[in-house]
Amino acid sequence: MNSSVPLPKFPQADIAANGGAASSDIALEVHDLTVAYHKKPVLWGVDLAVPRGRLVGIVGPNGAGKSTLIKAAMGILPLSSGWVKVFGEPVKKNLTRIGYVPQRESVDWDFPVSVKDVVLMGRYGHLGLFKRPTKRDRDIAHECLDKVKMLPYANRQISNLSGGQQQRVFLARALAQESDLYFMDEPFAGVDAATESAIVTLLHELRNKGKTLLVVHHDLPTARDYFDTLLLLNMRVVAFGRTEEVFTHELLQKTYGGRLTILSEVAHEVGQRGGNPRVP
């Protein structure tokens, strides 16, 4: 059974290219990770080492385990086997260095909180029990709201926002976490074009500051433009590496299986644009 599935490509070459495989250069290390829901494996034997300062897109078909992978990496989900290290230490020890943008639909947007309250939640991890947000925390939340251009909405209740605005609020909350490693679950789902390009700009800014980002993404054609590194996932790691190396017809075929409609669309896109991916 095992032999029929090709072994995941372990990105040794990448690490070596980055100047030595010292563990401190690895932001996220996942070893032999298996996650199962009701005894059915969703992720199986995932090995992964993400170097620092990468903007990684996680792509794969529906049910490939993309969200499961980032949730398991953060320790939200119980692991059936394997371990996860963040900056060379177990996840639990480095939680404050992790920022998270969950799927927008995962919360009730009628909840009685204001935009500001939600962003302030990003500071809770740094506060610990009993302590209330200080002036400094409020200032940070304020800045983060400004960064995503949502300051005018600070005192609004969150239900009065559009999809793109809601996503910006979640991003501001993640920024307020002031982390080094970010996990984002479909931040581009259901947002307007302006928000999409604003988010892309923000992701590149964060990457340029040396932050590491893992972003679940559902749109193949743009994945090529947005991310410098791609993780092709379908229950197992199909490929992981620089976008220009990994975004090939065979690997995508392997990831998406027989879903030819998507593939022919992508092939069309690739054919039209030719050669190098365009990075905004």
Partner: protein, 489 residues
């Protein structure tokens, strides 16, 4: 129309509810001849029973309101219901411990039974394919059945002081003793302190569980902590509200608060106040007659508050919304009338005096009667005066200004659509008809800038200028004592 019908039926329901309350008073009247004496006894607080009952009801109202707020935003209303039914066997067992209505034994028994119920639900949910609502429904009924069996058995026992045990089903605030009250005060204090101290943890786990977990919060511990407090709240509320209705005291005040505010902190405060009000109402009404249960009156009191929030809430209230819509529709209608008056005047190049109802009716393609009604509306808002037995309309200065403004909005928007959006000039009128009523001053200024302060609309008609506004008078305006005008500039 259907909206109005809905509103009406709601009002009827409200009326029926108040009649029901009134007739309940009459029941009290029949059973207790001196209703007034009872009310007087209640409000003078001289009777210790009254003081215990009232204080207990208020305390449980606060506790239920605070915890209920979290129950509502976490969508756990059914859990509250199941928990409250699940405590009944614990009450019976707590009684059997000493064969006595010992508050502490009953408290411990009931809390344990309640927690056992919630754990059972979790186990069913996790080990089978059944979903939570099914598990809740089963556990609720089973525990309640066991409780009823035990209660019936106790009633048949020859020994023991069984007085007041039957009150646990529908609640009797008058049965609250000093020991019960002490327990209630302790639990209420605990709930207030815990919610105050762990407010941010409760908030973030209620809003976004995954995020809370990712920041390292012990989400499960917080959840069970909340369930434990909930069990406490249910148990102290039992005596006054009764097993059957206690979940309504958790949910209804919080639901009313949810409709009235957009902030969790304010929701907690409001729910506590509403819970207090409902508690006091229940205690009062049940005191009026000798064997009136407290629980139903408390729940009806809470429902009355909820109905009020539902109908008259400042933002989401049904009546409020209807009223707001109506006044907006009326304003639009007035503005349209003003616009028509302006058009009539414009057609005759602002010469002549006033606008007759016939002219207005022709312009608006309405009957003269309709025009008369419209003119009356303008007069009522001091936008016009009527002369010659109401047949001639003269705009007041503010009426003239509003007319200019609305025509200006309309024509600026038409021009903007043809210029900027490149829509054909004969396609822009309908859109401008709608937008003219909602353009704010800021947008109008922006339009002016973008249109380079144009003076004519796409149809070649002049756009009323600020000079026309300032003039404040037109051929169609006449104060009662003065006649005579110049044309517009």
């Amino acid at each position: 129309m259907s909206r109005a019908a809905k509103t009406f039926s709601l009002l009827l329901a409200l009326a029926a509810l108040s009649v029901a309350t009134a007739s309940a008073e009459r029941i009290g009247d029949i059973t207790e001849n001196s209703l007034r004496d009872q009310a007087l006894r209640f409000f003078t607080f001289q009777d210790p029973t009254v003081r215990y009952a009232l204080a207990g009801s208020i305390l449980l109202g606060i506790t239920c309101g605070l915890l209920g707020s979290f129950i509502v935003v976490r969508k756990m209303a059914l859990v509250g219901d199941a928990l409250s039914h699940a405590v009944l066997p614990g009450v019976a067992l707590g009684f059997l411990w000493h064969m006595n209505k010992d508050p502490i034994a009953i408290f411990i028994g009931a809390t344990l039974a309640g927690l056992l119920g919630t754990v059972t639900v979790s186990v069913i949910k996790q080990t089978t394919r059944l979903k939570e609502d099914t598990a809740l429904g089963m556990v609720l009924a089973t525990f309640f059945a066991v409780g009823i069996c035990l209660m019936t058995m106790i009633q048949r026992l020859p020994s023991g002081n069984k007085g007041g045990l039957d009150k646990f089903l529908f609640g009797q605030a008058a049965a609250i003793g000093p020991e019960d009250l002490r327990l209630m005060a302790v639990v209420t204090g605990l709930v207030i302190v815990v919610i105050f101290v762990f407010y941010k943890e409760f908030l973030v786990t209620s809003f976004d569980e995954d995020f809370a977990r990712a920041t390292g919060l012990p989400v499960r511990v917080i959840h069970y902590g909340l369930m434990l407090l909930l069990a406490f709240a249910v148990v102290i509320a039992l005596q006054a509200v009764g097993v059957v209705l206690v979940s309504a005291m958790l949910i209804t005040p919080a639901a009313a608060a949810y409709l009235l505010t957009d902030r969790m902190s304010r929701m907690l405060l409001l729910a506590a106040v509403f819970g207090m009000l409902a508690g006091a109402t229940g205690a009062f009404f049940s005191f009026l007659g000798p064997s009136l249960p407290t629980g139903p009156f408390m729940v009806l009191g809470a429902t009355l508050v909820f109905t009020g929030a539902f109908l008259f809430g400042p933002r989401h209230g049904v009546v409020t919304r209807w009223w707001r819509q109506r006044s907006r529709a009326q304003r639009v209608q007035r503005e349209n009338t003003l616009k028509s008056v302006y058009h009539v005047l414009e057609d005759r190049e602002f010469k002549g005096e006033g606008v007759s109802l016939r002219e207005l009716a022709e312009r608006r393609r309405e009957t003269v009667e309709d025009a008369r009604h419209q003119a009356g509306q303008l007069r009522r808002h001091a936008l016009a005066t009527l002369h010659e037995e109401g047949n001639l309309i003269f705009l007041t200065p503010s009426g003239w200004q509003q007319a200019c403004a609305i025509v200006r909005n309309h024509r600026l928007w038409e021009l903007y659509l043809t210029n900027a959006a490149q829509i054909a000039a004969d396609h822009v009128h309908d859109d401008a008809e709608k937008i003219e009523h909602v353009l704010g001053e800021e947008v109008v200024r922006e339009l002016e800038r973008r249109l380079d302060y144009a003076t004519t609309d796409p149809h070649g008609r002049p756009i009323p200028s600020w000079a026309d506004f300032r003039k404040g008078a037109a051929p169609a305006s006449r104060a009662d004592d003065s006649v005579g005008y110049g044309g517009p500039i």
